[in-house]
Subunit: 372 residues, 2 copies
């Protein structure tokens, strides 16, 4: 399987860290929100071992912010998501499934509450800005919707805490999981949250001045030299082992949050203003037809999953694998996929049709990392 080249144009946006990422030896990119997102440096496996042991600096500028600000900000936010935002306090990060009128997933961002009338939706891949802005216009809400110049940099790995303390002081340890606080870097106030797209622990720095990208990058690398700090990126192996879903891969607008195992983030039992609430109530009543599961696929390492791989029980098509990769630690291909209710029980044995042939597949309820 040959790896294609990516043509560079202005449309696929650079980030303020791109020069540093290139110098650090990025091997491949993906495109995410029309912006460059690195996908490997040394190799996916080396990056993976390093991430689980040390600390990495990730350019995740592509997690664009949709800023929702104004008197109707809270009301609009509650129309976007089935999650109950009533008790969300300033300084908190919420994982907020965003759904359309059919209950289909449009995005699975983390939302930061900056003030009573101001939120940042830190988005997965998809122009949520257009959705939010058009709803505000259509409903006639008093709210301003913008994509601010904010470029998140994630610090991930078991030594992230140590590195961040060296740069931002011991105060960094007071940030609880999925909370954020304001810190100062070179005189500029910026937000730091304890969060990130790995299970190894870490922080996200919401850089809000692109001219500080170089000083921030260099300060982190200098401070972390003896911690073996490296440039990194969300790692496919670690992500699938950890059961972290990727919008566009493991779910699309064809899937509801209930199918994605996000029922605990949905206040569907009562009437809310969420656009998709009626559809989700119907689904909850009728019963969800399929759900995301972790799946082990036997045999040799597989090529990347570039399309749905159908799961079969005999001749019955009972689900689809949507992400798959060889895990050195688990010594099997780890995968994620949607599995029908009839076959989603822990330990169910199926077969999956891959481009490399038919393989045996075992369905698991818990992700690989949680079954250790």
């Amino acid at each position: 399987m040959t790896v294609p080249a990516l043509s560079i144009t202005r449309r696929l946006r650079n980030t303020p860290f791109t020069d540093h990422v290139n110098i650090a030896g990025v091997k491949s990119y993906t495109v995410y929100n029309r912006m460059l997102l690195p996908t490997s440096f040394n190799s996916m496996e080396e990056d993976y071992f390093h991430l689980k042991k040390h600390v990495q600096v990730w350019d995740v500028s592509c997690q664009r912010q949709v800023s929702v600000k104004g008197p109707d900000a809270a009301a609009l936010m509650q129309r976007l998501t089935p999650r109950n935002l009533t008790n969300m306090v300033v300084g908190q990060c919420y994982y907020t499934p965003i759904v359309n009128d059919q209950g289909g997933m449009l995005n699975d961002p983390v939302t930061l509450k900056l003030a009573e009338d101001h939120y940042w939706i830190s988005i997965a891949d998809g122009d949520l800005l257009l959705w939010v802005k058009a709803l505000a216009i259509g409903f006639g809400l008093i709210v301003s919707i913008e994509e601010p110049e904010v470029f998140p940099l994630a610090i991930q790995g078991p030594k992230a805490s140590e590195l961040m303390e060296r740069v931002f002081g011991p105060e960094i340890q007071t940030i609880r999981f999925f909370r954020f606080q304001e810190f100062t870097f070179e005189g500029q106030k910026l937000i730091i949250s304890r969060s990130g797209f790995s299970k190894q622990g870490g922080f996200e720095i919401y850089l809000n001045r692109s001219d500080l990208a170089a000083p921030l990058w260099n300060t982190l690398f200098k401070a972390g030299e003896d911690l073996q700090v490296r440039a990194g990126c969300p790692n496919l192996i670690e992500r699938v082992e950890s059961g972290l879903l990727s919008y566009g891969n493991d779910m699309t607008s064809e899937n509801t949050p209930l199918e994605c195992g996000l029922g605990r983030f949905c206040k569907i039992e009562s009437d809310t203003n969420c656009i998709g609430n009626e559809a989700l109530q119907k689904e909850a009543k009728a019963g969800t037809k399929c759900q995301i599961r972790s799946i082990a696929i036997e045999g040799d390492p597989l090529f990347p999953c570039d399309d749905k791989w159908p799961l079969f029980d005999g001749e019955n098509h009972v689900g689809d694998v949507t992400s798959a990769v060889w895990s050195p630690d688990f010594e099997t291909n780890v995968a994620l996929g949607m599995v029908n209710k009839s076959h989603w029980e822990n330990g169910t044995s199926l077969v999956v049709q891959t481009p490399q042939g038919i393989r045996k597949a075992i369905v698991y309820e818990k992700c690989f990392a949680d079954r250790q």
Copy 2:
């Protein structure tokens, strides 16, 4: 300048033609509407010479359709665009700038009127589906908004007409420019328009059954063997020479249609229901500050334009180059960029700051192809 690799995942969607494109020897891709779009086969220059002389088959499935259907379809369409749609008839294609409430460009699609209550918006890069759907919900319009399974295949080049006649019969010659008609292929009705993202002439086939991708591809290649038919793609050199704008490159939501030289498509003199009309009226009254121009950049061939390259008159920043490439036919670097009113006159001499140093640049009112 090293060319990065593109990581393949399900999120960056394949098309029904991807296998054929790979076998045809695609060298590089871009990502467009979260879908693979080829950018070169032999080399950009060889592809360019071939396109200007023969006929090519382009997989432009990434031109996703936003289907707008229902009693309020026409009313919603007129809210989306400043272009007057009153006289648009079924069977017609309109180039329709889509703007937000500030008059900023959200997309520059071609819209097909399929029926009095049914339109397809054939979009450039950007999730316009979300914008249109959210407006429909917010305004409470009776209209259904979907992304149908339609995969456009463009047949472009001076021999396109001959090839299409061989496959679809002499009736194909009756389609006028920017019109479409229904044809039958292997028993399936599909739409063919006389249009495409080149100045070499040609057609777009809106394939609506993915299982017909292989028969359609193979039929075209067999019929065009003696015409030297090849797999191709929108060609950067030919596009810039022809002055064809690329959304995300030459314009973004920061630009209005007036700045993009699309004033003739805007009915701004009178009140329409277009969301951006008020903003555009203000701009028309005050005068447009900058406008797209063709620009010749002297010196050796330039690397791809991955960011704005500032244009200067002495120390004054008077515009930005947004696309640039070496043209073998014009023996200069051809470019597109926004130039301030003070400097947009034909023949104005400026300098541009490129990653390869300061170069002399000449501003032109007409595109290179039209100045021949």
